[in-house]
Amino acid sequence: MPLPAILAHGLTKRYGRLTAVLGFDLEVAQGEIFGFLGLNGAGKTTTIRLLLDLLRPNSGNASILGHDCHREGLLVRALTGYLPGEVDLYGDLTGRELLDLLGRLRHQPVDRKYRTKLQERLELPDKDLRRRLREYSTGMKRKLCLIQALQGDPPLLILDEPTEGLDPLVQESFHALLFELKRRGRTVFMSSHVLSEVVRVCERIALIRRGELALLASVTDLHKMAQRTVRVTFSADVTVVPKGLPPEYEVVELQPRMWHLRVRGALGALAAALTGLPVCDIDVMEARLEEVLIRYYREEGA
């Protein structure tokens, strides 16, 4: 069985009386795209910085591809590409100088062809790399930071808010790039608060709330947890109330010619309840996973 890409056990980080991360457990398999969600200040960046040994935990430990993040930090970071959530780049450097500097810090030399390919994918041509960073827009800086994280082609990518500041077209390109990385067996651990993005590209998600893991689920499981809205219309007035519905069925509104329900799970029980009634139409509105996650954000889903 392959080693997990990321394994965390009871990670805890306190700043004085403030607990940023508490007893955080996580396992990310190799080759998956994993979404790490949380509101601002929930502990996402702290957790990432603990994994990279930039912060030292008060208790607990973490390993990346079987290597302890603290004791074997150098090895861990040789296997990792990191995109920080926010970084103030030196304005007097050119984009190329920054990439070259960070490339020289890697154990293996950077493959120029691969870097050029990344530049093309993320639309940051050579002429832009020759410009000083003070002339860069927020989006260009983000692209540059993405390229520096990816340029060593490491087996694990830890990306903190990767699409923040990117235009929709580059976001598309970036998502395609993520799928390509996954096909090549790379693992991507990305934090975000853009739910639609996470739901679209990630296979599993973890949601951190006030430093604690509030939810760990696959996107498929999320779909099961999400409530679909069902609207049943009748061709004649119906006076009976639906009977025998399991607790996953929430009746929102009952009118003589219309039932409005929220359903989590399969619709079989509803079909049985409608037997013999003058059903005119059944309108099923797909679940929005964002609503599930928002419930967890709001601490209703715990």
């Binding site: 970071r77 040789a78 920080p84 970084v87 103030d88 780049l89 030196y90 960070l102 020289r104 810090l105």
Partner: protein
């Protein structure tokens, strides 16, 4: 080693304009001082200058006043002039606090997310401090040498150059010492301005303590803790002091600061 060198080259490239400008100004300043000293010497103005000094200052400054108002004293004025010292120590503080600046901008996150051992960040800064101090002290020595050997070129001038190498070494070690203190300070905070301001205040306070202790004896025990106490330029010029032990003490201050910086930086959160 490769990553340490890459970081050093990066920092040196960013600081080179400032360092080279200061070095050029110091060369020029030293040449001008030498020419000024020659002019005063030719006009036999030194005794007249000494006569203009009020008695109270003459008593306070003692024999060092005569040294200051001599050909050697004026030619070497740059080595103990408060403005020059402020510029040199200020520059070392600016270089020494680089790790705090990098932590503040999160550039360190980018660097240390790569397979770079933390100690390279400190080693890089130490290498930069030592290189810069050597370059600036060397520039001053070059300025003195140019002025004394090529522009004045008399036996007196050659005699005046004799203490310059030791003076430059003592000054360089003082600079490295303050750079080390700034570096140690920088490893304890997340903001460069805080580290720089604290070190600058400390330097100003220690300079004043050392200065006042020369005229007010109760401060003398405290002055021993000031790095400036171990840089007595006038004693080096007259050859009366023990510059070698001062240099060793300042080197120890620098090494202790470096060690402290290594230890704190190794265990701190970034």
């Amino acid at each position: 080693m490769k990553s340490g060198l890459a970081l050093f080259v990066h920092s040196a490239r960013r600081a080179r304009t400032l360092i080279l400008t200061v070095a050029a100004l110091l060369v020029l300043f030293q040449v001008l001082l030498t020419l000024g000293a020659e002019s005063l010497q030719k006009a036999t103005s030194f005794p007249r200058l000494a006569a203009l000094i009020p008695d109270v200052f003459r008593q306070v400054l003692g024999p060092s006043l005569l040294t200051m108002l001599s050909f050697s004293g004026i030619a070497c004025l740059g080595y103990f002039h408060v403005a020059v010292l402020a510029v040199l120590v200020g520059l070392m503080i600016a270089l020494g606090t680089e790790p705090a600046g990098e932590a503040e901008t999160r550039f360190l996150d980018l660097v240390l997310a790569h397979p770079v051992a933390r100690h390279w960040v400190i080693t890089r800064t130490i290498a930069l401090l030592v290189t810069c101090a050597a370059l600036l002290a060397g520039a001053m020595m070059l300025g003195s040498g140019l002025g004394l050997y090529y522009l004045v070129s008399s036996d007196l001038a050659r005699a005046a150059f004799r203490p310059v190498p030791k003076l430059s070494l003592n000054l360089a070690v003082l600079m490295v010492g303050w750079g080390g203190i700034a570096l140690a300070m920088a490893t304890t905070v997340h903001r460069r301005s805080v580290a720089a301001a604290r070190t600058a205040l400390l330097a100003a306070a220690f300079y004043m303590v050392d200065l006042i202790a020369q005229v007010w004896k109760p401060l003398k025990p405290l002055a021993r803790y000031s790095p400036f106490h171990y840089y007595n330029a006038l004693s080096v010029i007259t050859g009366s002091g023990n510059a070698s032990s001062d240099i060793i003490i300042l080197a120890c201050v620098a090494c202790a600061s470096f060690l402290l910086a290594y230890i704190i930086f190794q265990y701190r959160d970034l």
